[in-house]
């Protein structure tokens, strides 16, 4: 026979369990909106049973001793986390590319009457006006103005593309700083979690925080995450451990051959960035942006060379042989294109005539005007307008496909996050229903204690009074 007090201790274990579960529900509800929080659940087990001592084992066997709290666990799917880390990297990379290309589009706002396309059309037209009236100083001045407008338009686009490239370098530098910050915070959390885990407990909330940082880090670079027995994670970037235990390596800002920013390990090797914002910035800078800048250089040099080649065969209004019409620095044509200083200073130096002493002749001016439809670019396969339209079309197509892929990739991430939310998210309805359940459990345990109390009262106060 068990002690009369035994029922009290079972009731007490029920009260404690109900109270702990209610507190966990409160913690869940309070964190319903916390980013990265995983709902927690109290895992209960029946307390170790009590073998009823007896001489004769034909009795009723073991007796339950109440409930025990095995653990407070977080509900989380580690495989889903790994998949989300891969996909947020791709999503962030495409979003970076989309945003960068949208900036390129604002530099070349076409179709428009203010873009390079119409400056180019007006430039050719101005040559026709000179051809029609070679003796008119007004027409020559207008031509020089139009040519200067075209040149400065190309200069402006070249400068803005160069600025964009520089600002991508700046962003890369900032993002490298973020990687270092995240790595050291993960190392700090590793240390805190390790201290909890060695005591045999679970560090639910700290692990949530660390998972969130890992996800942020994987937006920047591709990371491999290995869980260790001591509760820490090892974070691998390109096969090298960025974070191991409570220590993190620093990523340093280096300079590559072209003078651009590059992410390196402290011993000088470039880092294999995988997929993410960092890689997208590098790829955008060295891929599409560099190609657009090269195309713009080709356009500027192509126009200048074709115009100059004809211009030097002509004669100007003073009867002198024509010089160069445009000047530029080779290798940096788009940024340095300008109307030749001599022509800009004196519009009479525009060589419109095919022979000296024929001021009424506009043959050369007309021939230059007809360059509009000559295939002077892309190794003699495209006109200037074709080439420019092709460049703008390429930018548009690149930007469009980046938008589409970024949208699609965002949907994948949204889907995965929804799945994770379905598993780990806090449901207020669920918590409210649980609250009622736990409240009732608490009340029932309390009532049990009252029953035992009454039993004891019967035993203590009313027993042994027979015959009194």
């Amino acid at each position: 026979m068990t002690s009369a007090w035994f029922g009290l201790s079972i009731g007490l274990s029920g009260l404690r369990a109900a109270q702990t579960m209610l507190e966990t529900a409160a913690h869940n509800t309070a964190n319903a909106s916390t980013v990265g929080y995983s709902r927690q659940r109290v895992r209960l087990v029946a307390a170790p049973p009590f073998s009823y001592p007896a001489f004769n084992r034909s009795g009723f066997g073991q007796l339950g001793t109440g409930v025990a709290i095995a653990a407070v666990e977080r509900v989380r799917d580690a495989f889903l986390d790994a998949e989300i880390r891969t996909q947020v990297g791709a999503s962030a990379a495409w979003a970076t590319r989309r945003d960068g290309l949208a900036r390129v589009e604002t530099i070349l706002p076409e179709p428009s009457t203010a873009g390079l396309g119409s400056a180019l059309a007006r430039f050719w037209a101005a040559w026709h006006d000179v051809a029609a009236e070679p003796t008119s100083i007004a027409a020559r001045t207008a031509l020089v103005e139009q040519a200067a407008t075209l040149a400065s338009g190309i200069n402006r686009v070249a400068r803005q593309l160069a600025d964009l490239s520089t600002s991508l370098d700046g962003e890369l530098r900032d993002r490298i700083g973020e990687v270092n910050d995240l790595a050291s915070r993960i190392a700090t959390l590793n240390a805190q979690i390790q201290r909890v885990v060695v005591t045999g407990e679970r560090a639910n909330d700290l692990e949530d925080a660390r998972d969130r940082l890992l996800e942020e880090l994987s937006e920047l670079v591709s990371v491999g995450v290995e869980r260790q027995a001591d509760g820490t994670v090892t974070v691998l970037v390109g096969g090298t451990d960025l974070v191991s235990g409570n220590s993190a390596r620093r990523v340093v800002v280096g300079t590559d051959g072209a003078g651009h920013v590059e992410a390196r390990w402290s011993w000088g090797d470039p880092i294999a960035l995988g997929t993410g914002r960092l890689a997208a910035l590098v790829e955008l800078r060295d891929g599409p942006l560099a190609a657009y800048r090269a195309a713009l250089d080709e356009l500027a040099a192509g126009i200048a060379d074709a115009v100059n080649a004809l211009h030097v065969t002509g004669f100007d209004a003073t009867g002198a042989a024509g010089g160069a019409f445009f000047s530029y620095t080779s290798g940096d044509a788009a940024a340095t294109l300008a109307v030749d200083a001599a022509v800009a200073a004196d519009p009479r130096r525009v060589a419109a005539a095919a022979a000296p002493g024929q001021p009424g002749d506009g043959t050369i001016a007309a021939a230059i005007a007809e360059l509009r439809s000559a295939r002077i670019l892309a190794a003699g396969t495209q006109t200037a307008a074709d080439f420019y339209a092709g460049l703008v079309g390429k930018i548009g197509a690149d930007s469009r496909s980046a938008q589409d892929v970024a949208d699609g990739q965002a949907l994948v991430v949204d889907y995965l996050r929804n799945r994770r939310e379905a598993i780990s998210g806090v449901s207020l309805d669920e918590e409210a229903a649980d609250m009622i359940r736990f409240q009732h459990a608490y009340a029932a345990s309390a009532r049990l204690i009252t029953a035992v109390d009454e039993m004891l009262d019967t035993l203590i106060s009313r027993t042994g009074l027979v015959g009194r």
Binding site: A32, L101, E105, L108, P109, E110, P111, G117, S118, L120, A121, W124, A125, H128, D129, A131, A132, E133, P134, T135, S136, A353, G357, Q358, P359, G360, D361, G362, T363, A366, A369, E370, R372, S373, A385, D386, A389, G390, V392, G393, K394, I395, G396, A397, S399, R400, Q403, D414, R417, N418, E421, A422, G425, V426, S427, L428, D429, A432, A433, I436
Partner: protein, 288 residues
């Protein structure tokens, strides 16, 4: 699947943002009346639009060239018309001068008038467009004749009007061909009158020849004006066709754009309503 309020909230926000984005794009199309506002709106059509704009500018320039050529030919026609009248007047004087009964004073007066007419012809030959002499060939910096008896100072170069790709036509009349015979005939007439003799048949013939040279030149001018006119018509047609094509590529179909805008608006309103209803309830609202 377990659905949480956080999930509802995130999904609703995402849907609202997507709807709002669509609404923004539809509003932009209506506000700008253009379907192409940046290269990525439709890369292939943006490429076409740029080329069409270039073609349009090219056609507009050829039309300007036609106008410039027309102006030159018009000036030449007027000058030649006046010259033709002068030759006519000279011929009247020559016919009168062929009559032997005139007094010496009359002949002197007639000779003076002929010299005067020759000066007028020199003046007409020095017609300018802007500051360019139009009858001096490519030597537009000098007048064709300094004096009625002086040599032709210009050359025989052709001033060309470019009225299409690789299509040009001369829009000037070489002064020596149109005015040379006139000045020579007028000089011969005046010399004969001053000498006091009757005007010879040869002079009358040369006046007729001079007149037909002027008429021929005018005929050429007229023919070229016709060619310019034909060119203008073709260019105007091309301009309209290009404009229509460009409008089709670049401009928004307003009816469609406005319909799209209303549809987007309705969707957005509906999304807002649903979101407000879904987000406001949970079990907590129903517990005592």
């Amino acid at each position: 699947m377990r659905v949480t309020h956080q999930m509802l909230h995130a999904n609703a926000l995402r849907a609202l943002a997507a709807n709002l984005g669509g609404l923004d794009r539809a509003a932009e199309r209506v506000a700008t009346a253009r379907r192409l506002n940046r290269p990525s709106d439709d890369p292939a059509d943006v490429r076409r639009a740029i080329k069409l704009a270039d073609a349009q500018a090219e056609i507009a320039q050829y039309l300007r060239n036609v106008d410039a050529g027309d102006r030159l030919l018009g000036l030449a026609d007027t000058a030649l018309g006046r010259t033709s009248e002068i030759v006519g007047r000279a011929r009247e004087l020559a016919v009168a001068g062929a009559n032997g009964t005139l007094s010496a004073a009359d002949r002197a007066a007639m000779a003076a008038e002929v010299r005067q007419l020759a000066e007028q012809v020199v003046g007409l030959a020095a017609t300018r467009a802007g500051d360019a002499y139009i009858f001096s060939g490519l030597r537009t910096d000098v007048p064709p004749y300094a004096s009625p008896t002086g040599p032709y100072q210009g050359d025989s170069g052709a001033i060309l009007a470019w009225i299409g790709p690789a299509t040009s036509l001369p829009v000037n009349v070489v002064g020596s061909a149109a005015f040379g015979p006139v000045l020579a005939a007028l000089d011969a007439l005046a010399t004969e009158l001053e000498a006091g003799g009757p005007v010879s048949g040869a002079t009358l013939t040369s006046l007729d020849a001079a007149r037909s040279a002027v008429v021929d030149a005018r005929a050429v001018v007229g023919a070229r004006q016709n060619r310019l006119e034909l060119g203008r018509t073709a260019l105007e047609d091309a301009r309209l066709a290009t404009e229509r094509l460009r409008s089709m590529v670049e401009d928004a179909d307003l009816a469609e754009a406005v319909t799209e805008l209303s549809r987007r608006e309705a969707t957005y309103q509906a999304a807002l309503g649903v979101t407000a209803r879904v987000l406001s309830t949970s079990l907590v609202d129903y517990l005592r």
